[in-house]
Symmetry: C2
Subunit: 248 residues, 2 copies
């Protein structure tokens, strides 16, 4: 069934008003009309199975048939802090991490980030990532659209206290043969726990950065014995979290 | 340490002859020469820590200092049969799956594959994937370069007997809420076992295809409760296998 995210306020009244982009998609792209059934989402984890009541060129309404809690969200709340990589890899990661259950994406410049975001352009780039994540959330049956923010290294470190655990993807850990840290962290998390996952750019993290984060409670982890690219590491971690908490 | 795959025969004699591309990389790209230490690989899982003895414009030799078994290979042998997706997604999967430990990539046309490979062009495309996988293998510290083949659906099904287990990525399984099949399959595998993982194109598999494969021993599996894109599913499965067998 097709899925659409709407503003939360849309569900305050009995008859849901459909926004123009949804009206366009149902009427013009799908060529459907009154009677069409779909799932509407308020972005908080609730699904509303609904039916189109009226549909004109630019406006439309729907009736909620059934309201239910979604079952497609990870049992823990995962934030990825991703050090700005080269090119459009951050877009790939935003899309794939959404499919894999991510809740919040923080993009930041680490010491070795080659790419930089101009302060003026950052809001546009965040907006684009947000759009990619909304589409990925709809397609992957998510009930929550992940949020996206551009933060400084300082803001990142100052936010550590909000999290129950902090995983640092650190390739030197992989090279040294340490292999159980990630599983230990995942096993320590109760449902609803907040996990921060920090992944570096192509050149990895600076030793000073790692040391500072470890001092504040970060745990350097290997994601298997192979050396993963910057954009592969977050996907590995999210798949591992899903496997450990949803499949076993 | 920089890593290079050489032909297996290069290690039959005491002084290893370096091929022109490696000579170019060491001399021109890295600006190194005699005394430079690196890891040479024969592609069978053995690493040779080596030192450059001589290096000219186009030729060079190296001495093996230490020979050892690599520790970066998955404990099981994984083959991915990937139904031809649209665009260059197969290249993304070839690269990422190599990083995640894949051993063999079979590309095939499933009933719902929109993209087709012209029989004449297939060898060129396979060659390109092979090159992507060699580069990914070097960068990710693999000791084996995965193989790549273009096969027909019939060849794929006829090869089922070679495998100890066959996992079918099937999104209907995810929608129905079944969640333990993948973990059960992974738990059943002894070191050295051969696993075949079949992943469909954008439109998923045809019911007839799935039924035929299940009859021959395939196990439909969900990769978590979310619906993954065609190119994300193999990465999820490989990360889950690594997590289960290498990290826990």
């Amino acid at each position: 069934m097709q899925r659409y995210f709407l503003q939360r306020e849309a569900f305050n009244i009995d008859t849901v008003e459909l926004p123009p982009d949804v009206v366009h998609h149902i009427g013009t792209v799908l060529r459907e009309g009154p009677g069409y059934r779909m799932v509407l989402l308020d972005g908080t984890g609730v699904e509303y199975e609904s039916e189109v009541l009226t549909l004109d060129k630019k406006t439309g309404t729907a009736k909620v048939l059934q309201k239910r809690e979604a079952t497609t969200e990870l049992p823990i709340d995962v934030t990825l802090a991703y050090a700005l990589p080269k090119g459009d890899k951050v877009e790939l990661v935003a899309q794939k991490a959404t499919e894999l259950g991510l809740h919040h994406l923080l993009v930041f410049e680490s010491k070795r980030s080659v790419a930089k975001w101009d302060a003026k352009k950052a809001p546009k780039k965040v907006e684009r990532l947000q759009k990619i994540m909304q589409e990925a959330a709809e397609q992957s049956y998510r009930a929550v659209v992940p949020t996206c923010q551009y933060v400084s290294s300082r803001e990142l470190a100052h936010g550590f206290e909000q999290y129950d655990a902090i995983v640092l993807a650190y390739e030197e850990t992989a090279k040294s043969g340490e292999q159980s840290a990630l599983a230990n962290v995942i096993a320590s998390l109760a449902p609803g726990a907040r996990l921060l996952l920090i992944v570096g750019p192509e050149g990895g993290f600076d030793q000073d950065e790692i040391d500072g984060w470890v001092e504040r409670g970060g745990v350097p982890c290997a994601f298997g014995p192979r050396i993963l690219r910057s954009e592969t590491a977050p996907l590995y971690a999210l798949a591992a979290i899903s496997y450990a908490l949803e499949l076993t």
